[in-house]
Amino acid sequence: MEANIHFPDPSKVREELTQRYPAKVAKKRTKSIIINDPETIPEVQANVRTVPGIITQRGCSYAGCKGVVLGPTRDIVNIVHGPIGCSFYAWLTRRNQTRPETPEHENYITYCFSTDMQEENVVFGGEKKLKQAIQEAYDLFHPKSIAIFSTCPVGLIGDDVHAASKEMREKFGDCNVFGFSCEGYRGVSQSAGHHIANNGVFKHMVGRNNTIKEGKFKLNLLGEYNIGGDAFEIERIFEKAGITLVASFSGNSTVGQLENAHTADLNVIMCHRSINYMGEMMETKYGIPWMKVNFVGAESTAKSLRKIAEYFGDEELKAKVEEVIAEEMPKVKAVIDDIRPRTEGKTAMLFVGGSRAHHYQDLFTELGMTTVAAGYEFAHRDDYEGRHVLPSIKVDADSKNIEELKIVADPELYQPRKTEAELEALKEKGLEINGYEGMMKQMMKKSLVVDDVSHYESEKLIEIYKPDIFCAGIKEKYVVQKMGVPLKQLHSYDYGGPYTGFVGATNFYRDIDRMVNNPVWKLIKAPWETAGNGKGAELEASYVTQ
């Protein structure tokens, strides 16, 4: 990519971003504010504690576990063990859409379940109330599965959610009850919760149903949560191309799909950060390779489809994929040809998530826009620099307390889908098999990378760079807009979407065009503030002559 954008002196930017901090804080933050060089990729400090008092975008482990990974599966009754708030705030706010097979099929996503822990439960223990709650959920709904999520006080008072779950599971016999120790204080962000969720889903769900689904090209879609219907669009494309989706982790998914996921022949990973553990574990235990893909962006979608076809190595599939792309692309092109003259040359900043700040750069590139600064909220170094840095990542105290499952090949079910030589050959063709190159390789030289950006840094960045659009979440939305810059929410999509696939790309183009070119941004100043009326400004000549 050619740089026709004038970047401010990045080292000065770095200084300005940190100068108000106490010395120790400034020193720490400097390591997370990096000037990019895609050739030599510098190290970014990531997945470390946020300094107390800093206004951060980050949430907690519980949010990553219950909210992100487990939340989208529609037929699990998710009971939050703790005071009422944790369950309340995660109630329907993430927009994971789901489409039950029939109006009668199970769907608990619209419900909020909590043990509503009281002071007496904190003092005398809450296990009894938890078991009572599980029993009541079972009696009311007879679900296939009940999951229990621990909130902060649960870990501190020593309630054993795993023992309680096991006891109830054995008692019921026909309902899979399992727990997660995803207390909010674990780790340094949502990321810890993703890992805990991956472990639990792998241990308690994957591998329980060995039925082989029909289909020649079977895969799982990992790290796609169907926000705004993203997974629906990908499902549509897969179906059109003759690719069989066994399970999504976890957008629009069911317990049955997750239990059957180990029968697929490939795992494609969207959000590397939240689900890479699952890919790794399934590879080790069942021999299913995983491959990084990106369905955000029309070109990226086409590229990902071609990679899938290449993986299966089937000429018929390759032809079908080309046919789908040839059919979808003209519609995309018609939209982008109309819009691009109005977005070309504009700039964007993305501070969001653990993969979105990377993926959405593809859409901005398609719009002719440049990402001048980007960073993740809860990612690790490998998401920035690529997985090759994994061995050099120091495991600190905050990561150490998250369980690493010891996985070995399943004596019966392990069956390598590809030989080592085949995998190597695929890698040589550019497929990111069991690998991920990270965000920075794709970003321009001298662009800025900031991990866990703070409120203060965001405001400074906006003042310095004056981007045409800023991408973040709900907490940042109105702060940034009050500065006169439109903010695109990339968690909730501002209640729009989908943004994946071919249809999603055109949705995104239209939304960005609307936002950056909306005349309302030019109406903010009242006429008496801009022209005369005692404010000191000169009357414009045109007024006088008219």
């Binding site: 519980y62 944790c86 109006p103 769907n107 043990t115 822990m117 006080p153 907490k475």
Partner: protein, 459 residues
């Protein structure tokens, strides 16, 4: 059906809460603290709490909601959060420069036993609080009460920690706002001005959570009760607490500390509660009620008489916070409607006592508050005895759609409509707005569903 698994048959639950009609204390404390000028709320707990509260308040107001967190990790949870809070105070004063930091606790910091009074004293002793700046606190354990309790606790903390008695009484009356919207607080100020009464309203989120778009983000918007005003509340002639759950505790604390007598009235929602508010305020200040206010009242009554046929006998289900739904229930009765199903997740015996009084004309009414008084139960009651109108926060829309019932958004949070920040629900004009919305809900339905030959031009 969105809530397809909700059975008609009600079975008592003790362990499981489903679709709560409440949330936890800290969010109330955060909201209350935003009503002090130059104040940054601070959540002493894990990051998730602060993130969730800010997100919910932001979705409700579509405004910046600034707040910081102690960012607990496992270490802090084991060894105590003092170091985190002290570090936070230092960072906040140097980076965000508030006049006040209002710290509230969470279930985490309460469970490990962090003492906010002791830690903030240490911060002061260690010189971490710059001259002329303040750190106040409130204990808000999430496993006690509800978001309303948290609001009350922070308002009490504000009153206790700022009020001073100089020995010289001031000709002013404190109005302690129960949990209400910025628009409602603006309306309280407007009514007091019309009455000619000098008041100190606290907290006051108007001009904070309804700030104008100027192209510039003002970290501490111009609204909010000032420190100077808050210091003076100990010298006020009396206090009027609007709401027995969310406002009265602060009035009691102020009376204890500075001997400021108080009266508690309902939040002025609806005709009768507004009447009582106006009477109490005018009496406390010794002023006559001006014609202007009498005329405002007259306009509300006028619509009530003009449109009485549309209200008569209509059955209503409602859920929300006690200080709001107690006067609202009374208003529904004034309108000749029949509130028959009422839940509030906030515990407390005052709710039951007041509802019993208000609902004596409707012996068949179901009402419940506290544990397991949730929207799941309310929905089940509605399946057994259908209603003509549902009133409650945005989560009610799932029930309303399934049961095909007109729905009035009222309370907290409202995540899918605007208006609550700008147009009051209190006072006579606010009640008129409520009335208009109820009428619209009925009439829109009638227009949508009437048989063609029964379609009415004039209504």
């Amino acid at each position: 059906m969105l809530l397809r698994h909700t059975p008609k048959e009600v079975i008592a639950r003790e362990g499981l809460t489903i679709n709560p009609a409440k949330t936890c204390q800290p969010i109330g404390a955060m909201y209350a603290a935003l009503g002090i000028h130059g104040c940054l709320p601070h959540s002493h707990g894990s990051q998730g709490c602060c993130s969730y509260h800010r997100s919910t308040l932001t979705r409700h107001y579509k405004e910046p909601v600034m707040a910081a967190t102690s960012s607990f990790t496992e270490g802090a949870s084991v060894f105590g959060g003092q170091a985190n809070l002290l570090a936070a105070i230092e960072t906040i004063f140097s980076v965000y420069e508030p006049d006040i930091i209002a710290v509230h606790s969470t279930c985490l910091s309460e469970t490990i036993g962090d003492d906010l009074q002791q830690i903030t004293k240490k911060a002061k002793d260690d010189g971490k609080i710059p001259e002329g700046k303040y750190v106040i606190y409130a204990s808000t354990p999430s496993f006690v009460g509800s978001h309303v309790t948290g609001y009350a606790n922070m308002v009490t903390g504000i009153a206790e920690q700022f009020a001073q008695s100089t020995g010289e009484k001031k000709e002013q009356i404190n109005i302690i706002a129960g949990w209400m919207e910025p628009s409602d607080m603006r309306e309280i100020k407007k009514l007091s001005k019309e009455l000619g009464v000098k008041i100190v309203l606290f907290p006051d989120t108007s001009d904070v959570l309804d700030a104008p778009q100027t192209g510039k983000h003002v970290f501490y918007p111009k609204g909010g009760t000032t420190v100077e005003e808050l210091k003076s509340i100990g010298d006020s002639s009396s206090s009027l607490a609007l709401g027995c759950i969310s406002a009265e505790p602060a009035a009691i604390a102020l009376d204890k500390k500075c001997k400021v007598p108080f009266e508690t009235v309902d939040m002025p929602i609806g005709l009768s509660a507004t009447d009582r508010f106006i009477m109490s305020l005018s009496k406390a200040a010794g002023v006559e009620v001006p014609d202007e206010i009498t005329a405002e009242r007259g306009r509300l009554i006028d619509v009530m008489t003009d449109m009485e046929q549309y209200f008569y006998g209509k059955k209503v289900a409602l859920f929300g916070d006690p200080d709001q739904i107690i006067p609202l229930t009374e208003f529904l009765l004034d309108l000749n409607m029949k509130p028959i199903h009422i839940v509030s997740g906030t515990p407390g015996q005052r709710f039951e006592k007041r509802m019993k009084e208000i609902l004596r004309r409707i012996p068949e009414a179901n009402f419940k508050n506290g544990l397991n008084a949730d929207m799941f139960l309310l929905h089940q009651w509605m399946k057994n005895e259908p209603v003509d109108l549902l009133i409650g926060n945005t989560y009610g829309k799932y029930i309303a759609r399934d049961e095909n019932v007109p729905f009035l958004r009222f309370g907290f949070p409202i995540l899918d409509r605007i208006g609550h920040s700008y147009f009051p629900n209190i006072g006579y004009s606010g009640s008129l707005r409520l009335l208009e919305k109820i009428l619209n809900a009925f009439m829109d339905r009638q227009d949508r569903e009437a048989l063609e030959e029964k379609f009415e031009l004039v209504m």
